[in-house]
């Protein structure tokens, strides 16, 4: 019992805590607090949320998976479940690992359900206790915290300190309530004796719990972000929220504009004035930014565009995950102009890749797209920020005030990259005329429709675009995980799922993660295209598989598609991979 019930992670077997309840009950926050604490204690964690598009009620659940080894994605089956309401108990009754403990709110449901005999079901009268403690607004998530703390073997003191630090309102009532619940669990806890060996694991230096979106925001800021323009849209919104909150410390400005169209055009204005700028949305909002995206191509505006996908088309499924926007991201914007598209395969990579992309945008005065998805954007993992930041090599920002005789915004040059100057008396004198144009233009930036000028300016942009594509070679374009076995292609959060699945698969396999999607790293990929491949993606039509086949001579043995909005469970995915390999 000690062995199976133990929440102490074993080699390759992360433990999972799952908290379920109604929206508005603080399920996610509780999970994040626990994850942060585990991370602080030196565990690797992955924290993910399943929620609906509603503010109160419904059914949300949040998972925390942790281990001494890196954890790349969350597990469906848990070792400890806290069900704050009946729906949660019902929904997750079978989501238990053998030996798990499932604590539920006995005031909301009498436990009368069938259950796996290896699971310990414990009912606590959470409502009644809440009524006793709270005068006005009660917070049932304190119970979740208390239960988890108890089972993890954290002390009552730490519980109280944590609550005081993380929940600013109603501190006293919260602590009182948490203590009561903690006491209830304590005997159970003692009997199984599952305390976490405090400090027995060396702290990961500088490890911090970071969501993909926070990592994106930090990466952009690292590369100099001054402005972020957006209109809220799940799952991109938290980039806006995070940066808005950092306004005073980071001196970066996150503007919630009247629409995506406004955001994108404002962004180009800020770039013109000399500010490093990004925009972000999900597919539907990015669709509204397309005309401006094309303007960035024409005006040669360095602009970082962040697209975080959810299931489509149209409004689709707002709070779930998908990878349906690959072609959409690759081929956006009317007219021909260069761009690059890349997708991070972890939160840490999100930080470095975003920084790289913003730098490349400025080096080549081009729009660039960071494509990600809800699962990566909104899930959190431990990131050793200072190391990651250190590892990220970025060019110095050029000094742009040196003067030239007459300035031509779109001067022809050897590499198609024209000198960039900024308006204003701080950056030049009265004779400096900087003209950006949405029309085809002369080097001066004045409009043209002459046959020769159209051709020359297109040639210039194409030359520049080739340079941009070439420059991606200075960065890591693919990542390969595993050193033998069949090749499995993926990008984005699917790589996380595959890396976790690899721990449970009876065969070895190599994951080829495509970080840069446009241009594809054809040369880097040569080593991997000889064998029959497996492609895994969150799409119903297999666009990644199609895209790979369009560009590589690749035999695809099996295309594994998952498109219900949910991430893969790593164990299920391992089975699918085994099937694919066996096939």
């Amino acid at each position: 019992m000690l062995q199976t019930n133990s929440l102490l992670p074993q080699m390759n077997k992360p433990k999972t805590i799952l908290i379920g309840g109604k929206a508005g009950e603080g399920v996610k926050k509780a999970a994040q607090v626990i994850a942060a604490l585990l991370c602080q204690n030196g565990y690797h964690v992955f924290q993910q949320d399943d929620y609906q598009s509603l503010i109160k009620g419904g059914h949300n659940f949040s998972g925390v998976s942790f281990a001494e080894e890196p954890v790349h994605t969350g597990y469906q089956k848990a070792d400890l479940i806290v069900s704050l309401d009946k729906r949660s108990l019902q929904t997750h009754i079978n989501d238990c690992n053998s030996g798990a403990i499932h604590c539920f709110n006995s005031d909301d449901c009498l436990q009368t359900m069938d259950q796996d005999s290896s699971v310990t079901l414990l009912g606590y009268p959470l409502n009644a206790m809440m009524k006793e403690v709270y005068s006005k607004p009660s917070n049932v998530s304190m119970a979740a915290l208390a239960i988890c703390f108890a089972w993890l073997g954290y002390s009552e003191e730490l519980l109280c300190d944590t609550i005081a630090k993380e929940f600013k309102r109603d501190v006293e009532d919260n602590i009182r309530y948490a203590k009561e619940v903690f006491k209830l669990c304590h005997p159970d806890f003692l009997s199984t004796n599952l305390s976490i060996p405090q400090n027995s694991i060396p702290l990961l230096p500088g490890a911090r719990l970071l969501s993909g979106n926070q990592a994106i925001a930090q990466g952009a800021w690292l590369a100099g972000l001054d402005f972020y323009y957006a209109y809220p849209m799940t799952p991109a919104s938290s980039i806006l929220h995070y940066l808005a909150l950092k306004q005073q410390t980071y001196k970066t400005f996150a503007i919630h504009a009247e629409s995506e169209l406004a955001a994108a055009n404002m962004a180009i204005g800020s770039v013109f004035a000399g500010a490093r700028t990004a925009i972000g949305s999900s597919g539907g909002g990015f669709a509204l930014m397309q005309e401006a995206f094309s303007l960035a191509g024409m005006a040669e505006a360095p602009l970082l565009c962040i697209v975080s996908s959810r299931p489509g088309p149209a409004t689709g499924v707002s709070t779930y995950t998908a990878q349906e926007d690959l072609m959409f991201a690759l081929y956006q914007g009317h007219g021909e102009f260069g761009r690059i598209v890349a997708s991070p395969d972890s939160a840490a990579r999100a930080l470095t890749l975003t920084a790289e992309l913003l730098s490349l945008a400025w080096e080549f005065q081009s729009p660039v797209i960071l494509l990600t998805d809800k699962h990566l954007s909104e899930s959190s993992a431990d990131v050793a920020v200072s190391q990651v930041v250190e590892s990220c090599s970025l060019p110095d920002e050029p000094n742009l005030t040196e003067s030239t005789d007459t300035y031509n915004r779109y001067e022809f040059t050897d590499n198609g990259v024209s000198p960039l100057r900024f308006p204003g008396s701080d950056f030049g004198d009265d004779s400096l005329m900087i003209k950006w144009n949405s029309h085809e233009h002369h080097p001066s930036g004045l409009r043209t429709d002459s046959s020769e000028s159209i051709k020359a300016m297109k040639d210039k942009r194409n030359l520049k675009s080739r340079g941009l594509q070439e420059a991606t070679k200075n960065y890591q374009r693919i990542a390969v995980y595993g050193d033998s076995g069949p090749v499995v292609y993926a990008y984005g959060s699917t790589v996380l799922e595959l890396r976790e699945a690899a721990k449970h698969c009876s065969y070895k396999f190599r994951i080829v993660a495509l970080i840069y999607l446009l241009p594809l790293a054809i040369d880097d990929l040569q080593d991997y295209i000889r064998d029959e491949a497996i492609v895994v993606e969150h799409s119903s039509t297999g666009t990644l598989a199609t895209y790979l086949q369009q560009n590589l001579t690749l035999k695809i043995k099996k295309s594994i598609l998952h498109y219900d909005g949910r991430p893969f469970d790593p164990i299920e995915l391992a089975l699918l991979i085994e099937e694919a390999i066996d096939a």
Binding site: I255, A262, M266, V389, F427
Partner: protein
């Protein structure tokens, strides 16, 4: 007096009201420069339409943006470098059709910009289709049997949205217009100038305007009066309808901080993030 012109061939129709606007703008800019505003600190944005061609004829830095989006682009410039004086040129289709939303939000925010609306009552550049300011019954290629919509009243609409400076000029009175532009550029907050701009090709209302324009002597005492005067359909009043001081968006956001000047270095950012 600076020339402020470019070497680009002018392709407006002979007699077009846009010439008057161009002259007025040049004059206003000269006044600003004479008063000490560095020319390098004056930038422009323009939409797409006949009005937008002013971009090619004015030796100012700026962005010849997308149809309807010039004002959003201008906002982005102002926020990144609030030291700049930003003037945006829009058409009636551009700023009150495709880009209506941005125009009204810029006014709502009272961001410190000037919008010059070239009101020629039609879509000139795309061959004279009806516009949001075309009169009921206007016949254009998209409304061959006459427009069935009433026009917006731009000044009342912009005042309602929050413009703190609102005025009307006439391209045939470039000196008066120059003075309005000068005032608007100096006004702290969102300034809107509706310019009556005859389009000789599709909406030649010179005579009509000459018969109906009247000068406003003073800024109307209150908002209702301003709106009534601006909305008068018998008399086309020229002058300033509203001028008031309210907090401006860029200052509320930035205080005295100038984003493009006071940037952290890469080293600083590395350090702040890592710690």
């Amino acid at each position: 007096m600076r020339e402020l012109g470019t070497n680009k061939e002018n392709t407006w129709c002979t007699g077009c009201g846009n010439f008057g606007i161009l002259n007025a703008v040049k004059k206003a800019i000269n006044s600003l420069v004479a008063e000490g505003v560095p020319l390098a600190d004056i930038v422009m944005t323009s939409g797409i339409g006949c009005h937008g061609k002013i971009f090619d004829y004015l030796a100012l830095s700026g962005i010849y943006g997308l149809h309807g989006r010039a004002i959003a682009t201008a906002e982005g410039i102002k926020l990144a470098n609030p030291k700049l004086t930003v003037i945006s040129f829009g058409g009636d289709g551009d700023s009150l059709g495709e880009g209506l939303e941005h125009t009204l939000f810029a006014a709502k925010r009272n961001i410190d910009l000037t919008l010059i609306l070239h009101n020629n009552g039609n879509y000139g550049l795309t061959t004279g289709q009806f516009s949001p300011l075309s009169t009921l019954g206007y016949k254009g290629l998209s409304t061959p049997f006459g427009s069935i919509e009433n026009p917006f009243r731009p000044i009342p609409l912009l005042i309602e949205a929050g413009a703190t400076f609102a005025a009307r000029g006439f391209s045939a009175k470039p000196d008066h217009l120059a003075s309005l532009i000068h005032q608007a550029a100096l006004h702290k907050g969102f300034s809107f100038i509706e310019v009556m701009q005859p389009c000789v090709s599709y909406n030649n209302n010179y005579t009509e305007l000459n018969n109906t324009v009247k000068m406003l002597d003073i800024v109307p005492a209150n908002l209702n009066q301003a709106i009534d005067l601006a909305g008068d359909s018998d008399n086309v009043y020229l002058g300033v309808f509203v001028r008031k001081q309210l907090p401006v968006y860029n200052e509320s956001l930035l205080g005295s901080f100038i984003p493009v000047k006071e940037r952290f270095t890469l080293a600083q950012r590395r350090k702040m993030l890592g710690s």
